[in-house]
């Protein structure tokens, strides 16, 4: 009974969700059953787009690449971010002042605030095969053999992209974790250290345990962002060379706006939406169960 009184607080959110998400997503589902080039009347074709999709090699390859992107955008940033924020928060800050830990956090967060198009140009300066910083430095030290065409070589492009994605994403996890740490009662740490627990032990048994909600949120949101990733791929490789770095979102975009197969693009984005939602729900229900336990 009591909980029903909270319903008014849900109304604005539900209205917005209906208008901006549910209705358009339903319309997109409808479009996925048609053949349409963006103008004129769509023709109903039933499930043709979906059966084409199942046999589309590039579509499957794009999902395979998503796994690499999840490692680069979700797994590595979460673990590295957790470790870095713990070092900053309760190793650097107590010894060298919170100014130095804040400065470091701001520097790590910087990639998040520059427009992605600019980030693409910046990495171009570094990765350009002839005049780029990385290859120039390697050649200066006589390591010519290590100089590569970082984004142009199909064997290397995905790994290079992964490094850039870690760079982009790390600031997000560090900022969320450091905000979470200031929520944790400092006396817990003090008690543990007075008890003789070393830094690593406090990290494992105090920090990680108390940050559970934030870790779940970060893992879920970064995994979803990794599956949806579009802009960094668009500015860095456009899915190339060949289809070496293509991802489902980019593939859908390509069908929507380059080949103008809107129905096919709608089918790809519908499948992607279902996959992401299922994965997100799985993580969410796991988090829910461990929170209730």
């Amino acid at each position: 009974m009591e909980s029903r009184r909270f319903i008014p607080y849900l109304i604005p959110g539900i209205l917005g969700l209906m208008l901006i998400v549910i209705i358009p997503a339903t319309a997109n589902l409808g479009l996925s059953l048609t053949s349409w080039n963006g103008v004129g009347q769509p023709t109903f074709v039933g499930l043709t787009n979906y059966s084409t999709l199942l046999q589309d090699k590039i579509f499957w390859q794009s999902f395979g690449n998503s796994i690499a992107i999840i490692i680069a955008m979700a797994i590595i940033p979460t673990f590295l971010g957790l470790f870095l924020s713990a070092v900053l928060f309760d190793y650097i800050a107590p010894r060298f002042g919170s100014g130095s830990s804040s400065a470091s956090r701001a520097m790590i967060y910087l990639p998040q605030i520059i427009p992605i198009a600019v980030a693409g140009v910046l990495w171009g300066f570094i990765l350009q095969p002839q005049t780029g910083l990385l290859n120039t430095v390697l050649r200066t030290f006589g390591l010519d053999g290590l100089a590569q065409n970082w984004l142009g070589d199909p064997k290397l492009a995905l790994s290079t992209l992964m490094v850039v994605l870690v760079w982009l994403q790390l600031g997000y996890t560090v900022v969320v974790f450091m905000a979470g740490m200031s929520r944790v009662d400092p006396s817990l740490h003090e008690a543990a250290s007075l008890d003789g627990a070393g830094w690593m032990r406090r990290f494992r048994e105090v920090t990680v345990v108390t940050l559970k909600p934030e870790i779940a949120v970060v893992l879920l949101t970064t995994t979803v962002s990794a599956l949806k990733v579009f802009a960094p791929i668009y500015v860095l490789t456009s899915g190339g060379p060949g289809n070496a770095t293509t991802v489902p979102s980019y593939f859908a975009y390509y069908q929507f706006f380059t080949t103008m197969k809107v129905g096919y693009g709608a089918a790809i984005s519908t499948v992607l939406a279902v996959v992401i939602t299922v994965i997100a729900l799985a993580i969410l229900s796991y988090q829910n169960r461990s929170a209730d336990a």
């Binding site: 901006i20 209705i23 790590i108 910087l110 910083l133 760079w167 105090v206």
Partner: protein
């Protein structure tokens, strides 16, 4: 837990300044240095860009992007600023980002209050429903939202961007806040209830202050995400342009009419098909428009001239 304070042996001497546990040992300096170098490496790409923005074009062409600048030349920056009306774009982007931030935070706080503290039945599924806004790939929404915004006359307006971005972002906020709100001790809320505080009072005077660090982070994220997005190309306006070009192709070009290349001078690429002329400016200076009526342009035309990187469709 690993320790309880009452039984802990006191090892640290709590004299003035840092406690014995937090001394700057050589090991601590090594960690400090490593973190410093890592942070510098993170901003290295931006440092290189800043270095290049103060070089002259000639210097850049001669020495490449990595040489140290010989002096500070701000003409690149001022020229860029004036050329694309950066002040106008900045004000526009600020307004949109602030609007989307306020809407996003409001929706997040209200909804997560109901989900995180209301303990409603089926709250997992309510949260899951809101998460769809976050899990749906945005390209799935572009076409339908474009038609809806057109239908109500809000296409390409700031208010439509604020609403769309605010609602989409709030999914993240609802999720983050309701996860963290669940950690508020029940006794705190019970105490307030006994004091006779209503739900709205509890939200404003207890929940929001307790959640302040997380709400601040949320507001910062929303603001930054929106301004980063707003500076990228608006896909809906590209869509509008492509649709117009496709429509023109259907309306104007009879099948079988040959395409003829026209020479309109250096920098310009031009084709004529029937009575339609397509001119693209690949140079870096504006060129005067040929005679005829403009049907469509890929960018704003500047007083009868085609700006660089712009294509015009004309009849005549």
């Amino acid at each position: 837990m690993t320790a309880s304070p009452s039984t802990a042996p006191v090892k640290a001497s709590r004299s003035s300044g840092r406690s014995a546990l937090n001394q700057r040992t050589p090991g601590a300096w090594i960690v400090f240095l490593a973190i410093g170098l890592f942070s510098l490496a993170m901003i290295l790409p931006v440092l290189i860009a800043a270095m290049n923005s103060v070089k002259t074009s000639a210097e850049y062409a001669q020495n490449g992007p990595l040489a140290l600048p010989q002096g500070i030349d701000v003409s690149n920056i001022t020229e860029f600023w004036l050329q694309i009306d950066f002040t106008g774009k900045l004000v526009n982007s600020l307004l949109i980002s602030l609007g989307a931030m306020v809407l996003g935070v409001l929706l997040s706080v209200l909804t997560s209050y109901a989900i995180g503290l209301g303990k409603m039945r089926g709250r997992f599924w309510i949260l899951a429903l809101f998460m769809i806004a976050f899990t749906l790939p945005q390209e799935a929404l572009i076409y339908p939202i474009y038609f809806m915004a057109k239908a109500v006359g809000l296409y390409n307006t700031q208010i439509s961007v604020v609403i769309v971005v605010g609602v989409l972002q709030s999914a993240f906020g609802i999720y983050l806040l309701s996860s963290v709100m669940a950690t508020i001790p029940a006794e705190t809320l019970e105490a307030a209830k006994i004091d006779g505080a209503g739900r709205f009072r509890i939200l404003v005077s207890i929940v929001v202050p307790l959640m302040r660090p997380t709400i601040m982070v949320l507001a910062t994220f929303f603001f930054i995400w929106t301004s980063v997005e707003a500076q990228a190309d608006d896909p809906a306006s590209s869509l509008q342009f492509y649709r117009a070009a496709l429509r023109l192709r259907r309306e104007l070009f009879a099948p079988g009419v040959p395409l003829v290349q026209r020479d309109l001078g250096e920098d310009l690429v031009a084709f004529r098909r029937g009575d339609v002329l397509v001119v693209g400016n690949l140079g870096d200076r504006p060129h005067p428009l040929p005679d005829g009526a403009v049907l469509l342009a890929s960018g704003p035309l500047d007083g009868g001239a085609i700006p660089p990187d712009t294509t015009v469709w004309m009849r005549g």
